[in-house]
């Protein structure tokens, strides 16, 4: 695989997303967070910082999810629909390089988006922390601009990379509409996958519980990447979890990208 070709395609995908005004969501994010921080203080009986933290993390995750799914589903299928795939494949680019490049491009788009949103988030929290009274700050469970929040954001990014790989996978063989439905469905199922492991506790059929267990290992366990509640309360995230989550995300993405490349390499565009 040519790394130069992958990087070239990746940069191109990023430029295209900038042209598609994807970065506008950052403005929306900043407006949402700043607007809500003024309103929330009036309603929350002293819990404004906690709620701003929760809201900011949820907004970063949701905006990222929309980008991952709605851009991810069009990465390949759009090229096919517009017939620009012929021009692309006539160049010295192999099909699996195209898949890897498309993924790298969206990963870069997500990284820059989340990076800017995180910077805005920390700036607002730091402002909040600096302008609050000393005794009020003393009542907080964790400082406003707590560096531990970065762990939650990093896990969110890993989760979004998995979603991107899922969307890209579906994009290689189905229409954008179906790919969006499947990706969203898998994202939701990924939050319930832990229940499948304990299927034998609710069902008495060994075959059904074996199927449940199989699905548990096949589906991504996205709830394992959710440590938002922990970090907002200033609790420690075990270092081992960070290592396992990073490795698990890497392997799952690897499987999806290889499967996508295999399917895409067998597609006939005549």
């Amino acid at each position: 695989m040519s790394l130069a070709a992958v990087c070239h395609i990746g940069v191109h995908v990023f430029k295209e997303s900038v042209r598609d005004r994807v970065l506008y969501n950052v403005v929306l994010f900043a407006a949402l967070l700043m607007g809500s921080s003024f309103l929330i203080g009036q309603l929350t009986a002293g819990q404004d910082v906690k709620i701003i933290k929760d809201l900011g993390l949820a907004a970063i995750s949701l905006f990222g999810l929309f980008i991952a799914i709605f851009i991810g589903i069009g990465l390949v299928s759009k090229e096919v629909e517009k017939r620009s795939i012929y021009a692309l494949l006539s160049k010295p680019v192999r099909r699996h390089e195209l898949i890897a490049g498309k993924f790298a491009g969206l990963a870069l788009t997500l990284a820059i988006n989340i990076g800017i949103m995180a910077a805005v988030y920390f700036a607002i929290l730091a402002y909040y922390g600096a302008t609050e009274l000393e005794n009020v700050r003393g009542a907080w469970e964790a400082p406003a601009a707590d560096p531990r929040l970065l762990i939650a954001i990093f896990f969110m990014y890993l989760q979004l990379l998995i979603v991107t790989a899922i969307a890209l996978f579906f994009s290689t063989f189905t229409s954008p509409l179906l790919a969006a439905a499947f990706s969203l469905g898998l994202w939701i199922a990924g939050h319930f996958s832990a229940d499948l492991k304990a299927f034998d506790q609710v069902v008495d059929a060994p075959a059904a519980s074996a199927l449940g267990r199989m699905l548990y290992y096949a589906l991504p366990n996205l709830s394992a990447f959710d440590v938002k509640s922990l970090v907002v309360h200033g609790q420690q995230v075990p270092a081992g979890l960070a290592a396992i989550n990073t490795a698990a995300a890497g392997t799952y993405i690897g499987v999806l990208l290889i499967a996508s490349a295999l399917i895409f390499s067998r597609r006939d565009f005549k």
């Binding site: 009986a45 906690k50 709620i51 809201l55 469970e141 939050h191 309360h233």
Partner: protein, 308 residues
């Protein structure tokens, strides 16, 4: 027609069309607002009170929230604060607080580490009417749930002790909870002696004042400081009522039972109608020659156990 004037004319027509469109837009927007206001004035819809909860089961709420359970907890927390505040601002006795416990249960199930929800909830669930529903059982259940989620937090057994002491007026159970709180990490040093003193002396006013002063000093939250201040004022009111009752007994012995405060003012015993620490005049029970708090006073009801 001169061809050179054609683009100019075209541009003028386009400008006119745009101006007309903007004018129509402004007119229609103003019309829409006016019609809405007129409809509200003449055919206002009956406002339905949204005192219902679509989600009753904390387990279902937790599932539906996916990874946004902390944010969902915040939403239920805001609803709990608004529900409590709304009912508290109603006419005395009109507040029902029937959603306070389920809202707090949902909040704490969605975010089991939401410390303030347990503490705020327990204090206000135990508050007797009109300031709260007076449900000590629900307050206790909520704090026990908090203790199960965070067994190392001394604040939950401390609050349980306080509720048993102040609202249930059961100083023995209260002392036991204070003792348990004193054994937990980071518990303040005064908790242990307080528990021992409470067991020895029972629930006297001096012990109450000491405890409330400690709570006021250590209170991290505005609402807790406000509550502690109110409880201290209730103690001040009780002290003042004791003084007035003693004076009334002397007056009764010397001059007969007074019909009202005016008799005492005329006799020069008091300069004016005595008021409680919030400025509400005390009432005089002419039959028994005793003082009582105005039912309109924000200090109502007083802790009966301490009225001795």
């Amino acid at each position: 027609m001169n061809p050179s004037t054609r683009p100019e004319r075209k541009s003028r027509t386009s400008l006119r069309a745009r101006s007309l469109a903007i004018g129509a837009l402004v007119l229609l927007a103003a019309g829409s607002v006016t019609l809405q206001a007129a409809r509200d004035r003449h055919y206002s819809q009956t406002a339905t009170e949204a005192r219902l909860m679509y989600l009753q089961s904390p387990g279902v709420a937790d599932r539906l929230a996916l990874e946004y359970d902390a944010l969902a907890a915040d939403v239920y927390w805001i609803r709990a604060v608004l529900h409590y505040g709304g009912d508290r601002l109603k006419d005395p006795g009109a507040g029902r607080y029937e959603l306070l416990a389920p809202l707090l249960d949902l909040t704490t199930s969605l975010d089991p580490l939401f410390q303030i929800a347990y503490r705020f909830g327990a204090i206000f669930l135990a508050e007797p009417p009109p300031g709260g529903p007076g449900r000590i059982d629900l307050a206790e259940r909520l704090l026990l749930k908090g203790m199960a989620a965070s067994p190392d937090r001394w604040q939950y057994p401390h609050d349980l002790g306080f509720i048993h002491y102040w609202q249930a007026q059961d100083h023995k159970t209260a002392a036991e909870w204070f003792r348990r709180a004193s054994l937990l990490p980071n518990a303040p040093e005064w908790l242990g002696p307080l528990a021992a003193g409470m067991l020895a002396r029972g629930g006297d006013r001096q012990a109450s004042r000491q405890l409330l002063m400690r709570i006021l000093e250590d209170a991290e939250h505005h609402w807790l400081r406000q509550s502690a201040t109110r409880w201290l004022r209730q103690l001040d009111a009780l002290d003042r009522m004791d003084q007035l009752d003693a004076m009334l007994a002397r007056y009764r012995a010397q001059l007969g039972p007074p019909a009202s405060w005016v008799d005492l003012i005329r006799a020069g015993w008091i300069p004016g109608v005595p008021v409680d620490p919030t400025g509400y005049p005390f009432e005089l029970n002419a039959t028994w020659s005793t003082t009582r708090l105005s039912p309109d006073s924000p200090l109502t009801p007083l802790p009966e156990e301490l009225r001795r």
